[in-house]
């Protein structure tokens, strides 16, 4: 038994446990709870969960792309396209059309398709993912604006759909449950599928991957598809949450998700980190946001504080991982 535990400890070489990020999260929680009595309440935890859910969904997809050493910046574009499509395809005040829950397939499908395009451009045409996904970001925004076409934003009328963010099940909203399911699924993918293992292999050394006969292009494209799909799902849920279709529903989410993933301890050059890291990273970013509201930080300063905290936490959380980068001859 002792041996097994010892082995389990050694197991986490590349996936590891997000201990530094966890410590940072605890410090933030302890600090906030001493300053605000409201922090340690069920209502507040529910608020954090609600706030974190959509960020977490996107972060799960993004994690695989970053693990492979690429980046996906198209998040807000995909959200625009999927949120607009979904709001026009479900019962709304602008079109006489309702797909019901079928809109989930549409939202996720749009995201997956844009992800597929990005993946093809990155792997087959060999354009850096940074540029490709800036392009697909705008591409998605463009689709959103095209569907919007000016005038009034479509108001969603499907009660069940709007209820996803309001109705609770075992104390948590359905959106939160969806996020938990996505995170659990992503963790299983990371841990028990060849795709998940290969994300680390490709991020660790693409050369080794190629010379081991791994179809690197295929797995990279899959990662972009998955990342796009999670953004598409996020767009769908944002439409539900806002009960309107808005092109700018995803605003600010790129910063939030990328910093969450990095804060969690997933390295931007790939090969290290994972879903658990991203979960903690998302919780840190969300807790900071909620804490600032509780502590009455002026909205003018909120962004500055957020930016600073990201820097500080990244330094603390990945101090050890970045050691080789600091050691210069």
């Amino acid at each position: 038994m002792f041996n097994l535990l010892k082995n389990e400890k050694k197991r986490f070489t590349s996936t590891g446990l997000p201990i530094p990020a966890l410590v940072a999260l605890l410090i933030i929680c302890v600090f906030t709870s001493t300053q605000s009595p409201q922090f340690l309440t069920i209502e507040n935890f529910n608020a954090i969960a609600d706030q974190a859910a959509i960020t977490l969904i996107i972060a799960c997809g993004l994690t695989f792309v970053i693990l492979m050493g690429s980046i996906d910046l198209s998040i807000q574009g995909i959200i625009a396209a999927s949120a607009m499509s979904v709001s026009l395809l479900i019962a709304n005040d602008r079109t006489n059309f309702s797909l019901g829950n079928g809109v989930f397939i549409v939202g996720i499908g749009i995201g997956a398709t844009i992800g597929l395009l990005a993946g093809i451009a990155v792997t087959l045409i060999r354009i850096p993912s940074f540029i490709v996904t800036i392009a697909t970001w705008n591409f998605g925004l463009g689709i959103g604006y095209m569907l919007f076409g000016g005038g009034q934003q479509p108001g969603i009328q499907d009660k069940e759909f709007i209820g996803l963010g309001i109705e609770t099940y075992l104390g948590l909203t359905k959106i939160v449950w969806i996020a938990i399911a996505v995170a659990a699924l992503s963790f299983m993918i990371q841990r028990y599928t060849i795709f998940g293992r290969y994300a680390y292999v490709i991020g660790g050394s693409e050369e080794t991957a190629l010379l081991s006969g791994i179809n690197v292009k295929k797995f990279r494209i899959l990662a972009f598809i998955f990342s796009g799909a999670t953004s598409g799902l996020a767009g769908t849920l944002l439409a539900s949450k806002m009960s309107i279709g808005a092109v700018n529903s995803g605003e600010g989410l790129l910063f939030l998700t990328v910093s969450s993933v990095v804060i969690g301890g997933t390295l931007l050059n790939g090969g290290r980190g994972g879903i658990l890291h991203s979960v903690i990273g998302v919780l840190i970013m969300t807790t900071i946001y909620i804490a600032m509201i509780l502590l009455d930080v002026s909205s003018f300063f909120q962004k500055i504080v957020q930016g600073l905290v990201v820097l500080i936490v990244v330094v603390i959380a990945s101090w050890k991982q970045r050691k080789p980068l600091r050691t210069v001859l």
Partner: protein, 514 residues
């Protein structure tokens, strides 16, 4: 000249530039240097030989200030030094000319030579292009290189760049007498370039000390005034090159007769007389018109320098590089890998030269690395099973005598030899494996690990797997194979049958390589 000789009893008859006294260095449990002592005299070429892993590079790094010794003393002239950085060593006149060149490829020759000593080229506080030009030409003349100082460095051949690097080292000590550390300077040079290098060394010798590291023993004996032989982190002999032959030097270096047991000769098999791989007029990046047949259970080794094209040939067969012309047949069927994935599914495996960046994923554990190429062996209904990975580890650990505590040990903590066994195992677990291509698989391994890799290769051949071995040394190529091919400038220059009774001559092979 006669004043430069060191007599047999070690009495030095001329001024000592550098003296090192019982230096030791440990890396974790590995003792890289054990009580090493040596001297470098003024105007002397000191040869340093030893197998890969004998400690030559570590010793050079200690002298050049790259790493600290754990114990021992180090003196320049009479002054005891403790170098804390390269710049300290540089100030004392020690310059390392690296195997991987340190010139900036995108800058001009003159800019490279004056890198770090830009002050020398100033006039009234401003750069004087004329002065840089003149000085550069002057330095280049000293190493007999005629290139335009303004030309971009990367456009010159490897040999020329090496000379520029030496010129750069001399430039840093204009007026003083430097100590040049040349780490395997000839390993990628052509025959004429080597001759030029030797001429240059002879020319600058009057005020320069040179440490010459190489595993080409003929060269070391030609150029050196004195030779130190290293083995397992120790200096085991100091010899006079005039009195020792290549064979004697080799015995000193490996510490045993060129014995049958080192290359596991008693395990030699007889290949089955059936063609496994047929290559006709294969042309690809860096090589052309290669013809090569491989029988079932045959080991063919290919010898050649870095730019001989043998590495790319291996990669084209494995589908990691595209072929431009020619035909390949695998087990009688037309075959063109095109991608590594297809090569692997056709039963081909590849062990790259750069183990740490191309063979394994350092950040992952042994089990993960073991199952990289054939993860299907570790799945249940398509999902990876930690239990199966452990079983695979147990199986291969016992078959290959892999020393690792468990499949969950980080591969980083394993020795080079054990890491290489993991790389081999990832291919061996393919029950369909037919052909294994190995690019210098024993490079950087210690003697014991090498023997074990040789044993594994012999056993694979016995099982009917065809092996293409890009050998790390002449001896490895000669003794490990049924046939030896030599390559030079992208062409096959010779083919020799090698049996325990009739091995090809070193000199004959060298003719095909150089």
């Amino acid at each position: 000249m006669e004043a430069k000789k060191t007599s047999k009893n070690g009495v030095v008859t001329m001024a000592t530039r550098v003296s090192i006294n019982s230096i030791s260095k440990n890396f974790g449990v590995v003792q890289a240097l054990k009580n090493v002592s040596l001297k470098i005299n003024d105007g002397e070429v000191v040869g340093l030989v030893g197998e890969n892993g004998a400690g030559k590079s570590t010793l050079l790094k200690v002298i050049s200030g790259n790493i600290h010794a754990d114990s021992g003393t180090f003196a320049i002239g009479d002054e005891i030094k403790t170098f804390s950085s390269i710049s300290d060593a540089t100030r004392s006149g020690i310059a390392m000319v690296y195997q991987e060149q340190s010139l900036l490829p995108n800058m001009s020759v003159a800019e490279n030579i004056f890198l770090g000593i830009e002050g020398d080229a100033k006039k009234f506080g401003m750069f004087s292009p004329k002065r840089i030009r003149q000085k550069t030409i002057d330095y280049l003349n000293r190493v007999s290189v005629k290139v335009d100082p303004k030309s971009i460095t990367e456009n010159h051949s490897f040999g020329t760049r090496q000379m520029i690097e030496i010129a750069k080292a001399i430039a840093e000590y204009s007026g003083k007498s430097p100590i040049l550390l040349l780490d395997e300077p000839t390993s990628v040079l052509s025959k004429s370039e080597i001759e030029t290098l030797f001429t240059v060394i002879g020319k600058i010798k009057h005020n320069t000390s040179v440490v010459f590291v190489s595993h080409r023993l003929e060269e070391v004996l030609t150029i050196s005034d004195r030779v130190y032989v290293m083995r397992d982190g120790q200096v085991v002999a100091e010899i006079d090159p005039k009195t020792v032959s290549v064979d004697e030097l080799f015995k000193l270096m490996v510490g045993r007769e060129l014995s049958k047991s080192y290359f596991q000769e008693e395990l030699t098999n007889k290949p089955i007389d059936e063609k496994l791989l047929e290559i006709k007029n294969l042309t690809g990046p860096g090589f052309e018109n290669v013809v090569l047949d491989l029988k079932i259970g045959e080991i063919v080794s290919i010898l050649g320098l870095q730019d001989s094209g043998r590495e790319n040939l291996g990669r084209v067969i494995f589908g990691a590089l595209p072929k431009s012309d020619g035909r390949m047949m695998l087990s009688g069927k037309l075959f063109n890998a095109g991608s590594t994935a297809r090569a692997v599914s056709n039963g081909i495996g590849y062990v790259p030269s750069e183990r740490k960046t191309e063979g394994i994923i350092l950040a992952m554990d042994v089990g993960d690395n073991l199952t990289i190429a054939h993860p299907e062996n570790a799945t249940n209904y398509g999902f990876l099973s930690p239990g199966k990975i452990m079983q695979l580890f147990d199986k291969w650990a016992s078959q290959l005598e892999l020393k690792a505590p468990s499949s969950r040990t980080s591969i980083k903590s394993l020795s080079g030899g054990n890491q290489q066994k993991v790389v081999l195992a990832k291919w061996l677990m393919d029950t369909n494996l037919k052909l294994l291509i190995l690019d210098t698989p024993t490079r950087g391994l210690d003697v014991g690990a090498k023997t074990e890799i040789y044993r594994i290769l012999r056993e694979l051949a016995k099982k009917g797997i065809g092996i293409i071995l890009l050998a790390d040394s002449l001896e490895e190529g000669i003794f490990m194979s049924h046939r030896v091919l030599t390559m030079k400038d992208g062409k096959v220059t010779g083919e020799f049958v090698s049996t325990p009774e009739n091995r090809p001559e070193r000199t004959t092979l060298l003719q095909g390589i150089l």
